[in-house]
């Protein structure tokens, strides 16, 4: 890494914040997102979806749709040439339903027609006769062996226990609680869209797609199409955000099937309401936890039971579940644990990856518990966390030793040290300074200010023995340095970082990024906070090989040993003979083509007792929330978030800050407003009118301290930064709301679910004697 660090600061190298290479196109509307793409002769595709959470298809008649002028084809399960199923971990989800539909929104058929309106009419014309079946909507019922299985693979997707240390030990102090997390949507703004272009001879297909993982998509698509993988070529179309929601197959297979059938390019777009049905969501969860501590607040044992509602199909439920159970202890030392976790199937919308991936749910519970424990031990909420703060070298409840840098105490201390808001409740005369905002709902006197903290641990990269790797290629031809990778740029800024790495390693300033497609090996998924580490590592290694190759050719030309030369900034220097040559000159006439595959160290699957070094690395963060709560109406205005985050090394500080602020906004959303509401298995708020995302008026200023302790295990010293902001911001906000509520009435019921609805705050006071504050 010395060469990297030695790079001069003025250049757009690591540690600086160069502007995004795609920013000029994005600000001028010239950047092509998936929904902007078209091709000559393209027609449109659309999907027919189940209106029922659980039903048997008695009959399906597509002939009325085929009779409509302009309809090119209608496809059902009978038309899937390969395997009629897909899935990231278990291939349990049909491309088109066969006999049974298991959630509202399950694809039953797809049509291709000349325009979207004809598609719509064709969908309406398809006659499906459904026999309604009882819907399984209670995840606890899914655990009952007496409940009929709604899928051939059974209702329990995974059960994972963790037994660590002495399961029977008890602490002097115990606190317990039940917690509930609602279903959150990724709500990326750029809706699902694809352009599928069949090869002229019909034996292959090109798919331009907004996705998180081109190669995984390709594998699943090829299997469904019954084509060899090399006949399916994917190119990354502009991605309008992802957050986990593009890790699974949505419209990919349908678009390809339609294109191959009609022999024309297919454009397929989801509407917002369809998007809510068409991708997986964050798992709703019910969690029970009991914490044992000695009277000084040192953790003795954690007990937990998790039930994750995975919805109708498995997606990544099993991995989400183990992420939750293995993070039960939070960023705290604990030697004994008894944990039981279930991911179950219901007739709800399928759930899978979303930023935080199981740890969001666990963290809400363990941080709520830590506050309870602090109260029970008579300790300050930060003091109890400091006393238990994990350090590098500690053993987790899985038996895994934390080898990552683990500055938990620094996260806590530096968060606490960040300045508090300088303004009191309801400063200024603008309504946005108070809860309720423009609604002129609240007067200053109705508001109580609360402060809360939360701290988190998050695994980075893929776990449990997954062969996790990324590929990058560096070529130098005609004096031009090019980098190629299949890393999905979803907005996070890897395209900026790749150039920074190349400039730092190679000592050149001009770097060309090649199109992102399946023309190079897999990069793995843009998820699990892994691309800076994994694809960053691959680009670094590819560039190092290329650099060494250039140095070798310079050495050969000069008749010196390559080891005698070194790259200093932008120059190859011979310190012995005392000459130097600019790298930009050295690469002229050199032909280099180096590919690198970066793998993180292997992990293992958990055994039956939940033991095993299943994770790769960890990152930590602390959050402080300051909220103003209208305690009478239960409305919350988040006034400020402060955070100190363990980033290893800030390779691009502005990008890191952007990830932190953006992640916090999603954590804020889960804390106070975002929830997919399903009633009897039917989604009730599949629109942006009713699924509320934080607006600019809801998002407070964020005070940030970046903790830079380069991680020796990370190829660039940097940890992934995307997920931690989303994880502990939610419990910090809820802790702050609880603090405000407790100030109004110390015996108020502590909040135990997110999102906190206004009625939850009101109900917290139910049945209490009015205090002096109440009028």
């Amino acid at each position: 890494m010395s060469d990297v660090i030695a790079a001069t600061r003025e250049r757009a190298v690591l540690g600086t914040s160069p502007t995004r290479p795609d920013a000029p196109a994005k600000v001028s509307g010239q950047f092509d997102f998936a929904s902007d793409l078209t091709a000559d002769g393209a027609v449109w595709g659309a999907t027919l979806r189940s209106p029922h959470p659980h039903a048997r298809i008695r009959s399906l008649d597509i002939s009325p749709a085929l009779a409509i002028d302009g309809v090119r084809t209608v496809l059902t399960a009978d038309d899937v040439p390969g395997t009629n199923s897909f899935g990231l971990i278990s291939s349990d989800q049909p491309v088109f339903a066969v006999d049974i539909v298991r959630f509202v929104g399950e694809p039953v058929a797809a049509v291709a027609a000349d325009d979207p309106e004809t598609c719509r009419r064709a969908l309406e014309a398809i006659i499906v006769d459904y026999e309604i079946l009882p819907a399984l909507i209670d995840p606890e019922a899914a655990l009952d062996p007496a409940t009929p299985a709604i899928h051939p693979l059974g209702n329990v997707v995974r059960h994972q226990r963790i037994i660590c240390g002495d399961p029977d030990i008890n602490g002097e102090v115990t606190v317990e609680g039940d917690y509930e997390i609602g279903m959150q949507d990724q709500a990326f703004l750029g809706l699902e869209a694809a352009l599928a272009i069949p090869d002229a001879d019909g034996t292959g297909i090109e798919l331009q797609i907004a996705t998180q993982w081109l190669h995984e998509d390709r594998q699943q698509i090829a299997r469904c199409l019954g084509l060899p993988e090399e006949s399916v070529r994917l190119t990354l179309a502009g991605v309008g955000g992802a957050f986990g929601g593009r890790e699974d197959i949505s419209l990919q297979v349908h678009a390809c099937l339609l294109a191959l059938r009609v022999g024309r390019p297919i454009r397929m777009h989801y509407s917002r309401s369809e998007s809510f049905l068409g991708h997986v969501h964050r798992h709703p969860a019910r969690i029970w936890m009991r914490h044992h501590a000695d009277r000084n607040g040192h953790l003795v044992k954690v007990e937990a039971r998790y039930v994750f509602d995975g919805g109708a199909y498995a997606s990544t439920s099993s991995a989400v579940l183990i992420n939750a159970v293995t993070h039960t202890q939070g960023p705290y030392r604990c030697e004994n644990a008894v944990v039981d976790g279930y991911a179950v199937r219901t007739n709800h919308l399928p759930c899978g990856a979303m930023r935080g991936f199981g740890v969001v749910q666990a963290c809400f519970a363990h941080e709520s518990q830590m506050d309870r424990l602090a109260a029970a031990c008579g300790l300050d909420v930060l003091e109890i966390r400091r006393r238990n703060a994990m350090e590098s070298g500690d053993r987790l409840i899985t038996g895994q030793t934390v080898t990552s840098v683990a500055p938990v105490r620094r996260c806590i201390d530096e968060t606490e040290a960040l300045p508090l808001p300088d303004k009191a409740v309801g400063h200024g005369d603008h309504p946005y300074s108070l809860p309720g905002g423009a609604g002129l709902t609240t007067d200053t006197t109705d508001v109580v200010r609360g402060i809360g903290y939360a701290v988190s641990i998050k695994n980075l990269m893929y776990s449990e023995g997954f062969d996790d790797y990324s590929t990058a290629r560096c070529t130098i031809e005609n004096g031009v340095v090019s980098i190629k990778f299949a890393t999905a740029e979803v907005g996070q800024g890897f395209v900026t970082l790749a150039g920074q790495i190349a400039r730092s390693v190679l000592g050149v300033d001009e770097v060309v990024l090649e199109p992102i497609d399946t023309g190079v090996g897999s990069a793995g998924s843009t998820s699990a906070s892994r691309q800076t580490w994994m694809s960053g590592g691959a680009v670094k290694e590819a560039c190092e090989l290329a650099r060494d190759s250039v140095i070798a050719s310079v050495a050969l030309a000069r008749g010196v040993e390559p080891g005698q030369l070194e790259l200093l900034g932008t120059e190859i220097v011979d310190p012995i003979d005392g000459w130097r040559i600019a790298m930009t000159d050295a690469i002229q006439g050199v032909s280099v083509n180096e590919e690198a595959v970066y793998r993180h160290r292997p992990t293992v699957a958990l055994n039956e007792l939940g033991q095993g070094a299943c994770h790769t690395a960890f990152a930590f963060a602390a959050h402080r929330a300051v909220v103003d709560v209208d305690v009478e109406l239960g409305l919350v205005k988040v006034v400020q978030i402060a955070t100190a985050q363990d980033v290893g090394r800030a390779l691009n500080p502005i990008s890191v800050i952007g990830q932190i602020e953006g992640g916090i906004a999603q954590g804020l959303g889960l804390a106070v407003m975002e929830e997919i509401v399903q009633v009897d298995g039917v989604i009730r708020n599949a629109s942006f009118t009713d699924y509320l995302l934080p607006t600019i008026a809801d998002m407070p200023p964020v005070e940030i301290a970046l903790i830079e302790e380069p991680d020796p295990e990370a190829p660039l010293g940097a940890k992934g930064v995307g997920e931690p902001p989303t994880i502990s911001s939610t419990p910090a906000i809820v802790a702050a709301i609880r603090d405000a509520i407790a100030q109004r009435h110390p015996e108020a019921t502590p909040l135990s679910r997110v999102p906190v609805r206004p009625s939850d705050v009101v109900d917290a006071f139910r049945g209490l004697r009015p205090t002096d504050h109440d009028r």
Binding site: P435, G439, S759
Partner: protein, 288 residues
């Protein structure tokens, strides 16, 4: 699908008098949502677009009658600030809470009343202000209080040949204010709203409640109490509690995905108490 751009109300109502299906389009903030979501415009359907009728987009204060006349297609942005905000603050406050700047630049009070959502912010203010809708058709015109025109959720007494051209709002002396509860700080549909208008001259007050019933509700029992508390300075905790209870009994909320009936009933009581308290403070400030 012919699109008509009548340039005056006469032409508009003549178009509406013709047979056949049609839609009236002003700001588009409701109607276009329906169209985008699949309520397709039929083959022979006519669109009557009101954007070119300047009469609908202007307003005037008729000082002789003490009436503010607001064209039905004046956009929210114009209602939320400037002279209208001074003359009729509660309408301005309601207008400011509608949607987003983009929506406020397009949406109109006429559309809000015709859409007749119980969550309509402008509609709630219009009812509290005792606004009268001036309705035109080829056959003539009629004037109907907004409170009577709106008969239920998305239901009005407007005929297919009729057009709301303006609202007449009698201006009053005394406090008026609008407040609403939404789960977000901006761009949010009300889950409970309330508008209070105190008419000192006539010694009455009107409290209208939004999002707690099939349509905007008035509070005939609470209103005399409110008047008494505000004008006779008889306010104390017990009296305020009585008002809150009365308001909550007047509410007829339902459970839905946005909020529970219990919460809506609770919230509308809180809003009523706050508006009354604001009215008392405003009066005290004026008197000092």
């Amino acid at each position: 699908m012919p699109v008509f751009h009548p340039i005056d109300v006469d032409e508009a109502v003549e178009l509406l008098a013709r047979r056949g299906p049609r839609r009236i389009l002003a700001g588009g903030t409701d109607e276009m949502v329906r169209i985008n979501h699949g309520a397709a415009v039929g083959e022979g359907e006519e669109i009557v677009c009101l954007n070119n009728i300047t009469e609908l987009r202007s307003w005037a204060f008729e000082s002789d009658r003490g009436v503010l006349v607001i064209g039905a297609a004046v956009p929210w942005t114009e209602l939320a600030s400037g002279a209208i905000a001074t003359l009729c603050p509660s309408l301005a406050e309601a207008a400011r809470t509608v949607g987003s700047p983009q929506i406020r630049n397009a949406g109109t009070l006429g559309g809000n009343v015709a859409t007749a959502s119980p969550a309509g912010d402008g509609l709630c203010a219009a009812v509290a202000l005792d606004a009268v809708a001036v309705i035109r058709s080829a056959a003539g015109s009629r004037r109907v209080p907004v409170a009577e025109l709106v008969t239920g959720p998305k239901q009005t007494g407007l005929g297919p040949e009729e057009l709301i051209t303006s609202f007449e709002i009698p201006l009053t002396e005394g406090y008026q204010g609008y407040a609403k509860v939404g789960v977000r700080n901006a761009m949010v549909i009300s889950i409970a709203g309330a508008c209070l208008v105190v008419d000192e001259q006539h010694g009455i007050s009107r409290l209208a409640l939004g999002s707690v019933g099939p349509t905007i509700l008035r509070c005939p029992e609470a209103e005399p109490l409110i008047t008494d508390v505000i004008l006779n300075r008889s306010g104390n905790t017990a009296r305020l509690d009585e008002i809150v209870d009365s308001v909550r009994s007047a509410a007829r909320p339902i459970d839905d995905h946005r909020a529970t009936a219990d919460y809506r009933r609770h919230a509308v009581g809180v809003l009523a108490r706050r508006l009354v308290t604001r009215a008392i403070s405003a009066r005290e400030e004026n008197n000092t």
